[in-house]
């Protein structure tokens, strides 16, 4: 299957290894992966800030860059939701929305992956459900099934579906509230080896706040953890 990776601007610069792990994972599963190098940002920062014109320009650019792709895989639920849900609302048709997948959803729903390998045996993991993956794309069980299928124990985290407080611009515009939200979420965290999420933005928010408050919790992107599972826990 031919797949174009839309790595997202955040992952390009802050989670480069996770992006690379997504490529390794997709190839391992038999996909032919391309990376259209003219890709930049999906436009969500401008869209959520209410900068309509700028958001539309960025969305048009991204649509053009991805127009020939058979499937677009995004290692971010939030950016995938921007393309799949917001682009059509901005008047951009062309079927890109229905060809765009969050990574975990692509693995489960399109490739039908259930067991990636036993590489996560014995690992206790908490999964942070990104809001846009959960509520806009309707993904909840997919990442859990993938993690459990690789041997991980996904612990019951009371605030797994609660917002981390990132919200893009919100995190710097209303920083006190944003940080309080991260604290409220992290305060309920059970003992785990890793907090895993499919969303770079949420991971930045949670890990940066955790480090400031002296926590040694480890935060990892879903792509890296799943590649580790498939690769045998190397």
């Amino acid at each position: 299957m031919k797949v174009a990776l839309f790595v997202t601007c955040l992952a390009d610069h802050y989670f480069a290894e996770a992006g690379a792990d997504a490529v390794r994972l997709l190839r391992h599963l038999g996909c032919e992966v391309s990376f259209p190098t003219a890709q930049t940002c999906c436009g969500q920062p401008a869209h959520n800030a209410g900068m309509a014109e700028e958001a539309l320009e960025m969305a048009k650019h991204t649509s053009r860059v991805l127009e020939d792709a058979e499937h677009v895989v995004v290692p971010s639920g939030s950016c995938a939701a921007m393309i799949a849900k917001a682009y059509p609302a901005l008047g951009l048709g062309g079927g890109l929305a229905s060809r765009t997948w969050e990574l975990g959803a692509f693995l489960r729903r399109q490739l039908g992956v259930t067991r990636l390998g036993p590489g996560l045996e014995g690992k206790r993991v908490a999964y942070h459900q990104g809001c846009h993956a959960l509520r806009e794309l309707g993904l909840e069980t997919e990442p859990i099934e993938l993690l459990e299928g690789a041997g991980a124990q996904v612990v019951d985290w009371p605030s797994a579906t609660e917002c981390c407080g990132f919200g893009g611009l919100f995190s710097t515009k209303m920083p006190t509230v944003s940080a309080a939200m991260a604290d409220a979420k992290l305060d309920t965290l059970p003992y785990v080896d890793w907090v895993v999420s499919g969303d770079p933005g949420c991971l930045l928010q949670l890990s940066s706040r955790a480090r400031r408050t002296g926590s040694d919790t480890r935060f990892r992107h879903l792509a890296s953890v799943l590649w580790e599972a498939a690769d045998g826990g190397a």
Partner: protein, 464 residues
């Protein structure tokens, strides 16, 4: 009340940093409400109910003139008096004149957010009329001289300990009195107020056009007394509170209770059709319905914001909102707080007065899932954000930064070149002090950029 919504960020900061007990009280109470709501939704086909309720409310709002006239006709037939108030000033004037013309010296009130919206209490007190709040939460707030912080639980920001201390001081209860004893003390203090009151003032959850029925939902019984014991009952009702038929009411009473508190229906539902028919019958001698616009017609005319008028004031969106939970309602600086306040207040007050509120959200979408009438709050937050940008109500630095980012992101060559500089820039002291980053670094470490970008790893050949 004085509008302070423009100070949202500062008010929120002060609450979180200076009054941790508020955050604790609000988080605890809203979590309980939200869990009850989820359970109550799970017991029914909530999706079907919500879609039905959305449809009924949309129908009413699309034919509001017709239903308002029908409601007025039925109310008059039932013997009630109907008053029309275009704005807050007119509404205050109507109630004050009613009170003065009838020699009213003492008023008991049931909880009504609309009376907060129009600042009714001070207007009556200025004219020498004593006003007593009878909802337990509102009673507590009146003793504290504070504004409500939640649509349903006005004193939700106060802990049990706060109330124990307050009542010990004012009512002589013990400092470790149990909630039931505190309620009993308030009830006993209020009993004579009910008996002495010349007028009862309430809000209204629904007004049925078909029958002229005013419906009120509550759990304490104070609204039942307020609307039945004094010789005059005045109800202030927003013009958007209409329902077409009595049958519709049956559905809305249940859905509203499930959404707000998780109950199948409120403990007390009062259905009011007018004054006592014969002298000596139970009920007030006069019933006055004041239909209040106060900006609602303008909201109805807005092609996006009109959907906020479906709101039944259940508070479900507040209870599920991770932003609201950190501060409670006072941070929002006006009567309606939380997600619904963030989209309703700009319409009722004008966006200039409330510009930060639509930005007080991470756009997590939990509010939409909770809303019993499916108000697309996240979409409306974006609508108001776009309007705020167009009107220049956001910081210039923010707009410039986003325009620059957009220009860069639509020019891949520039984007690639500048992206190369991210690791170097992230370490620079100057960059750390930029406004957009100081908001980040005040509470968080600056994340380490990847040593090599993804696109560098790609061009070098990942694992090949």
């Amino acid at each position: 009340m004085e509008v302070r919504s423009r100070d949202y960020a500062a008010l929120a900061r002060a609450i979180i940093e200076n009054t941790p007990d508020v955050r604790k009280a609000v988080s605890g109470a809203t979590a309980a409400f939200d869990a009850a709501r989820r359970q109550a939704y799970a017991e029914i086909d909530s999706e079907a109910w919500r879609r039905w309720a959305e449809g009924v409310k949309n129908h009413v709002l699309n034919h509001l003139d017709r239903y308002l006239e029908e409601a007025e006709t039925r109310l008059l037939e039932n013997g009630a008096k109907v008053h029309w108030a275009g704005d807050a000033q007119e509404a205050r004037q109507i109630v004050a004149e009613l009170a003065l013309a009838r020699g009213v010296r003492s008023v008991v009130k049931g909880k009504s957010m609309l009376t907060e919206e129009i600042d009714l209490n001070p207007a009556l007190e200025e004219r020498g009329v004593q006003v007593y709040e009878t909802d337990l939460g509102e009673y507590i707030l009146q003793l504290l001289d504070e504004a409500p912080s939640h649509i349903l639980g006005p004193a939700i920001h106060r802990s049990l300990e706060d109330v124990q201390a307050l009542f010990a001081d004012r009512l002589g209860t013990s400092t470790d009195a149990l909630p039931d004893d505190l309620a009993a003390a308030a009830r006993s203090d209020l009993r004579s107020r009910f008996q002495e009151a010349d007028m009862g003032i309430s809000g209204g959850n629904f007004l049925v056009a078909e029958t002229g029925t005013l419906a009120l939902i509550e759990n304490e019984g104070n609204i039942r007394l307020t609307t039945s014991l004094p010789r005059i009952h005045v109800a202030l009702v927003g013009i958007e509170k209409l329902l077409p038929t009595f049958g519709d009411l049956a559905g809305f009473l249940q859905l509203t209770a499930r959404a707000g508190t998780g109950q199948p229906i409120g403990c007390f539902v009062s259905l009011i059709h007018g004054p006592a028919r014969e002298p000596g019958d139970d009920g007030p001698e006069e019933v006055h319905i004041v239909l209040v616009d106060n900006g609602r017609t303008n909201v109805l005319a807005d092609e996006h914001a009109w959907e906020t008028l479906r709101c039944v004031r259940c508070g479900a969106c507040l209870n599920t909102c991770p932003v609201y939970k950190q501060t409670g309602g006072h941070a929002y600086g006006w009567v309606y707080s939380g997600p619904i306040g963030a989209v309703l207040d700009p319409g009722l007050l004008g966006l200039e007065q409330a510009a930060p509120l639509p930005f007080a959200s991470s756009l997590c979408g939990a509010c939409f899932e909770a809303c019993p009438v499916r108000i697309p709050i996240p979409d409306l937050l974006l609508h108001w954000r776009r309007a705020a940008q167009e009107m220049g109500l956001t910081p210039v630095s923010e707009r410039i930064a986003l325009k620059a980012f957009s220009a860069m992101a639509t020019h891949p060559g520039v984007y690639r070149q500048l992206g190369r500089m991210v690791p170097g820039l992230a370490g620079s002291a100057v960059v750390r002090r930029l406004p957009v980053l100081s908001g980040w670094t005040e509470y968080r470490e600056l994340p380490e950029p990847s040593p090599r970008r993804f696109r560098d790893l790609w061009s070098e050949g990942i694992g090949e």
